[in-house]
Symmetry: C2
Subunit: 232 residues, 2 copies
């Protein structure tokens, strides 16, 4: 196709610029002891429900905040605001993913000294967000039991770019004849050794354990980055 090689070249340039910004962002977060978790998935996999419950649960012990990306509407920010955590909506228009620069801009006006956890909910899209680092420490890819057990095989890049897989809507597993073994095989064949959580934010099944695990990840990240610096 005409224009394709130029397009690829320009995309590479945009990616490089994004990578530089994302690295700087991550360094800033780390410096402020903020553990940043981004969430990617298809539309409708349950990102906002998981996030709402996570903010409520963590909010009792930590200072938490969230940025949520969508093409249009601030529905998600309104839902998340019920958790009483500071939340900002990023609307991308027709853009299919968040970029580091959008996160950077959205942070303006927030005091990073007042934050322990920041969650970034990406636009619902299982393809494009995989290429864009948004400065997170941990990327969680969600897949609901209603989506089919071969999603990791069909969308390998996003699973490869993520650190943990979260299987959501386990309360619907029986209704959709979900095959847990098959999904685990798909995940492991794309990303061997990937940590996987199966939970239901609705019924609470396995949910407290998942949140505790997030806390432990934050502790681990802080130890890894802070201890050496203190030792210097």
């Amino acid at each position: 196709m005409n224009g394709q090689p130029r397009l690829v070249e320009v995309r590479r340039h945009v990616l490089r610029d994004n990578d530089v910004r994302a690295r700087a962002l991550r360094a800033r977060f780390t410096e402020h002891c903020i553990f940043v978790v981004s969430i990617v998935s298809s539309p409708g996999s349950g990102k906002t429900t998981l996030l709402e419950k996570t903010l409520s649960r963590l909010g009792a012990r930590y200072r938490v905040a969230a940025l949520v990306g969508d093409l249009a509407t601030d529905n998600d920010a309104a839902r998340l605001a019920r958790s009483h955590a500071p939340v900002k909506q990023i609307t991308t228009g027709t853009l299919c993913h968040l970029e580091a620069a959008m996160v950077e801009r959205a942070l303006e006006g927030w005091d990073l000294n007042e934050m322990d956890f920041l969650f970034i909910e990406n636009v619902g899209n299982l393809v494009c967000p995989s290429s864009y680092d948004v400065g997170e420490h941990l990327r969680a890819v969600l897949v609901s039991v209603t989506e089919g057990e071969d999603k990791p095989l069909k969308y390998p890049t996003i699973f490869n770019s993520a650190d943990v897989a979260v299987v959501t809507k386990m309360d619907l597993a029986a209704a959709v004849e979900f095959n847990s073994d098959e999904l685990h095989r798909s995940i492991q064949s794309v990303r061997p050794g990937m940590t996987t959580w199966c939970l239901s934010a609705k019924t609470g099944d396995n949910f407290a354990e998942f949140v505790s695990w997030l806390e432990s990840r934050r502790e681990a990240a802080l130890s890894a980055t802070l201890l050496p610096r203190e030792a210097v």
Copy 2:
């Protein structure tokens, strides 16, 4: 962001090229009396299940074929092949949508005189496919009852680019406390007057009616394009 204006300009060029190819494709399909339906949705909304059942049902009376797009795997083509219709898989690698040129290439080796219906299943993505005409006559956007009633508000562009909305997995409506009125309101506020089908390909609820409607759309398209030509 650096590079953004250039990226937009190059994208416009790619789109123009795609539009020209798509129009030529559609003219070719029309000339051969093939009615072409494309299907877009999130990953896991039930495109392949709907298509499998549609091919089987229509296949009794029409010559049907399908092209299915995915980043990786030919799982969907293998599933659809059970309907005994000719099926080809288009794997896009990391590309988040199908383009007219891919459809063009995939048609090579097929005799267009041997076809009444062609279905094109796009990559599972509720954002990017909206900008790419693939030469179809009718674009159906699927949304499953598990995805949340505000999807049309959050992803307006794809609903605006589609001709019909199909609400899938109605068998799960009660389990997920699906609010049909709310989804209809969302659809109508984004695309007033949009035809909407609510069905379950699994239980067959409303499915035969949907397929009959597709047949009637083909008849209408053929009358509109063929009669004036014959009258000339």
